[in-house]
């Protein structure tokens, strides 16, 4: 967008009064601040001229406005009232000098001083202990810091605000695109017309597309805050409509009843509203998928044991918990032995968690469950007993409190798609859940062991007649289901508190998934998990988190009436057992 003529020069502050009345208080304040700069700039210049007239030859006066400008402004910083100094700060920023940022930052942190002897402006060096003083202008080292040799240049809150704005303007021309983006966003948030010039300059030099957009948006807000011609403002409204988020909405809202702009503003608001709704929908679907992936991980192991063996494993939640604690233990070991490997900790923990949970699972099957085949209700009770013991065991070993499990670098942070925020850990968990699902499906459909498992599921006596060692298949199936619970624990450790109660909070939910999807059917578990996840997240905005969960539970209870064997009912003789 080309900078509009007529927007340069001091006259841009005329007529701000009419805006002040319209805008909210916060904006009013910033406007007043900029008016202060406008008024203060000539004052500061006067002060500068006055103070240094004695030290400099009058003949040089025209020259300092070009060459010595930055140095003189910095030297003028300790002088005058706070509002004078505010003007100086603005002027320093306006020089665009490479040293300006450092000086202003020192000033706002209270680390800029005037040397009592010689009157040089000094800053504390960033490094070094004890702190050393450096000349703020030349960067010359002036020896160790001594409190008595210098006088601090004081700042108050009003001045700090000016400095912040000035730093923002300076950052617009920083070499780091991230810093520029941040500055542009800050400018957007402040909407201060005083920044227009800086924004225009920055835009003409900007090469990064993302930063350029942000700059254009910041410029649009600034324009709306001035009395620019209607045509300029219309363009600005278009830019904001393109941005289309809540901030843009908040800026346009007060302009709804503006005589010249109300039509386009209303249109833009409508457009934004619509886009917000679509993004809100997308965000809900994403949250739902994310919750679904967690449910899938927690439930899929359960689905296998329940489906193949008709066994309700109430200890499944605790196997998940064991997986999470394995992750914790692995991370602890890595922290002490090889901190460099931390980013790999989850990949190391996953197979270990599978083995630990799977091993415990096989032990449970051999020790207890095996003796209870054909008595599903008793199995339920016995495994519940095991779950209590596992909980207490973990509580005795690791303590009752939450354990800290860190996110590796590639799992922390977030990125944005449009108006939607996607956190990396949720995304990876979704990928992980789908990978586990695909792996399990391959195992069941493509391997000999899977064939045997399916045979036992469909007709146990017949499978036994065909020479399948059903006992061995049972143990392996139980171990497999348990091991997958352990894998789920690795994933859950990234988003949930790792405590002895971890499993308890998932057990009811994962049962719901299995019952809803239909036992013994992997696709059922997949459909069940994602349906329940998405349904839950769609109900939440209307009903609140707790009520949404209750509604989903009630829905499942009713659904079971209609289809007592779940969404994908298993056919075969096993059903009658």
């Amino acid at each position: 967008m080309p900078p509009s003529p007529g927007w340069r020069g001091a006259d841009r502050f005329q007529g701000t009064a009419s805006y002040m009345q319209k805008n909210q208080q916060a904006k009013e304040r910033s406007r007043q601040g900029s008016a202060v700069i406008a008024r203060a700039i000539p004052l500061a210049w006067l002060a500068t001229v006055f103070l240094f007239a004695a030290a400099m030859l009058l003949a040089l006066a025209p020259a300092w406005s070009q060459a010595g400008k930055f140095e003189d402004l910095v030297n003028a910083l300790p002088e005058g009232s706070y509002s004078d100094r505010a003007g100086v700060v603005g002027a320093i920023a306006a020089t665009g000098d490479a040293r300006a940022l450092g000086v202003l930052q020192s000033l706002t942190e209270g680390q800029l001083f005037k040397q009592k002897a010689g009157g040089r402006i000094v800053a504390l060096s960033a490094s070094g202990d004890p702190a050393r003083m450096i000349d703020a202008i030349t960067g010359e080292d002036l020896g160790p810091y001594s409190k008595s040799a210098v006088k601090k240049i004081k700042v108050n809150n009003g001045l700090r605000r000016e400095i912040r704005t000035a730093i923002g303007v300076l950052s617009l021309t920083s070499a780091d695109p991230q810093a520029r983006l941040k500055a542009a966003e800050a400018a957007f948030a402040s909407g201060d017309p005083a920044q227009l010039e800086a924004l225009d300059t920055a835009m003409s030099a900007e090469s990064d597309r993302e930063v350029a957009t942000a700059l254009a948006e910041a410029r649009a807000v600034a324009i709306l805050n001035t009395d620019a011609p209607v045509s300029d403002k219309l363009k600005a409204i278009e830019v904001l409509a393109m941005r289309g988020d809540r901030d843009a909405q908040g800026i346009l809202m007060p302009l709804r009843d503006d005589a010249d702009l109300s039509g386009p503003v209303r249109e833009a608001l409508e457009e934004i509203e619509q886009r917000q709704m679509l993004w809100g929908l997308a965000q809900n679907v994403w949250y739902g998928l994310s919750l679904g992936s967690v449910l899938l991980l927690a439930a899929i192991g359960l689905a296998i044991t329940f489906g193949v063996m008709g066994v309700i494993n109430m200890a499944h939640g605790e196997l998940v918990m064991l997986g999470a604690y394995t992750t914790f233990a692995v991370q602890e070991a890595i922290r002490t032995a090889a901190p460099a490997l931390f980013d790999w900790s989850l990949l190391i923990a996953a197979p270990l968690a599978f083995v630990v949970a799977g091993g415990v699972g096989i032990a449970i099957e051999r020790g207890v469950v095996r003796h209870l085949y054909g008595r599903p209700l008793e199995t339920l009770l016995a495994t519940w007993g095991i779950s209590l013991m596992l909980q207490q065991a973990v509580r005795s070993i690791f303590g009752p409190n939450n354990r800290e499990v860190g996110n590796p670098g590639w799992m922390s942070g977030a990125f944005e798609i449009g108006a939607m925020t996607v956190t990396w850990n949720r995304l990876w968990i979704l990928v992980f859940a789908l990978l586990v699902f695909a792996g399990l499906l391959t195992l069941l459909k493509r391997t000999a062991m899977g064939l045997q498992m399916r045979a036992v599921t469909q007709n146990r006596p017949m499978a036994a007649e065909m020479g399948i060692n059903t006992g061995r298949v049972d143990a392996l199936t139980f171990g497999l289901g348990a091991g997958i619970g352990g894998l789920a624990g690795v994933a859950l450790s990234q988003i949930d508190n790792v405590s002895p109660n971890l499993g308890q909070s998932y057990i009811v939910d994962s049962f719901m998934v299995v019952v809803f999807g239909g036992a013994g059917n992997l696709w059922g578990a997949l459909a069940g998990a994602f349906t329940l996840g998405v349904a839950n997240k769609f109900l939440e905005p209307f009903a609140g988190a707790v009520l949404a969960k209750i509604l989903v539970l009630v829905f499942i209870i009713l659904f079971i009436q209609k289809r007592p064997r779940g969404l994908f009912a298993l056919r075969g003789r096993a059903v009658e057992a």
Binding site: F306, G310, I312, M314, V368, H371, L372, R375, P376, L377, E378, T379, L380, L381, A382, W384, G385, I386, S387, L388, M389, Q391, Q392, A393, R395, S396, Q504, V508, F511, M512, V515, V546, L547, K549, I550, L553, V554, I556, I557, L558, I560, Q561, K562, P564, R565
Partner: protein
């Protein structure tokens, strides 16, 4: 009639229960030096309500094969109905001194009593609700579930979902049941101070009577012709249906009766303990009830009561002596009972006795 109801084990249990019911209040109130401290009276009363709850579950699980993992919900609903009455009884003695609204409603800035609190100022209305609310829930839930032939573990899991959903609901402040604090700070019941030893002893006796009555009602049902159908349903549901019985009707009947018994147990529990909160709805509580029944002996009624008392007693003792050990012991009970004692303690004892007798055939009973 009496002979049908009271066999040897029932007779023995009722006799012991009678002795305890007389001895404990006497020891607490009459004898000098109070050999039975007041807290023991409340504790034993609590055990009695647990025992009644176990009998209720045994009625559906032991005789009809319905493994409900949601009986804690009926118990808690009964408790809440009683708690609501006790809250209304507080009157102006609450912290805020509001004559109508309980403290937590004043705290939440509620203007008037919600409709579902109306009538609870009357004791008899509350007593009716103690049975009607759990009964109605059981009726609706059972009607849907049994009609569509949801059985076995599926039924267990949806009963668990039911109590879980209720727990979440009662945790909400907006529900009007005191949120996660539940109902507490009761002052008196029917005008008697709840802190007084006499009231506590009275509640203890009420619990004992309710337990005895519950046992007899359950025994009456199970020894009737209807009881035989129930056992048939338990052992071969499809076959019973093919013989022309409407299985769902029988199941529904016994499920509702059992829920009402659980509600009564909860109603006596609340004033004895002095609080009722949503934690009572937690699925873990409901599963624990099952182990009481399994430990004592499924399908024996008296065994269920004994099992409840054994577990509750060991919990009281172990959690004060070795708090770390308690969950190991409870978990161990679940495993041992299912693996080693399929007929529970009572079954094992009776089997032992029978063996003992068979070895000496000359001794007739």
């Amino acid at each position: 009639m009496l002979r049908r109801l009271i066999d040897t084990r029932m007779g023995l249990f009722l006799a012991v229960l009678f002795v305890v019911t007389v001895a404990v209040p006497v020891g607490n109130l009459v004898m000098a030096g109070q050999p039975v401290p007041s807290y023991v009276v409340a504790l034993l009363g609590k055990y009695m309500t647990y025992a009644l709850l176990a009998v209720a579950l045994d009625l559906v699980w032991g005789y009809c094969g319905i493994l409900s993992l949601g009986h804690g919900a009926f118990f808690a609903l009964g408790g809440y109905a009683m708690g609501m009455h006790l809250m209304r009884e507080i009157g102006t003695r609450g912290v805020y001194g509001d004559p109508v609204l309980p403290d937590f409603m004043v705290f939440l800035n509620w203007e008037e009593l919600p409709w579902f609190w109306l009538g609870f100022d009357s004791f008899w209305f509350a007593m009716a609700m103690v049975m009607l609310v759990p009964g109605a829930l059981a009726f609706v839930f059972g009607w849907f579930a049994f009609r569509s032939r949801v059985t076995g573990v599926y039924l267990s899991i949806i009963t668990q979902a039911m109590t879980y959903a209720l727990m979440l609901a009662f945790f909400r402040n907006e529900m009007g049941f005191g949120g996660n604090n539940g109902l507490t700070d009761f002052k008196d019941i029917l005008g008697y101070d709840l802190q007084a030893d006499q009231t506590r002893a009275g509640l203890f006796v009420a619990a004992a009577i309710a337990l005895a009555a519950g046992l007899l009602v359950a025994r009456y049902i199970t020894t009737s012709k209807l009881g035989k159908v129930l056992v048939a349903v338990r052992d071969a549901e499809s076959r019973t249906r093919f013989l022309g019985y409407r299985v769902e009707g029988f199941k529904l009947f016994v499920f509702v009766v059992s829920a009402m018994m659980a509600g009564i147990a909860g109603a006596i529990y609340t004033p004895l303990v002095g609080i009722i909160n949503p934690g009572e709805f937690s699925p873990a509580n409901s599963i624990e009830i099952v182990i009481w029944v399994a430990l004592g002996g499924r399908g024996t009624l008296v065994g269920a009561a004994i099992g409840a008392i054994i577990v509750a007693l060991s919990r009281t003792l172990l959690t004060s002596w070795f708090p770390e050990l308690w969950l190991f012991v409870l978990g161990g009970m679940f495993i041992l009972v299912t693996l080693v004692l399929p007929h529970g303690v009572l079954g094992a004892v009776e089997q032992g006795l029978r063996k003992f007798r068979r070895r000496r055939p000359l001794v007739e009973n």
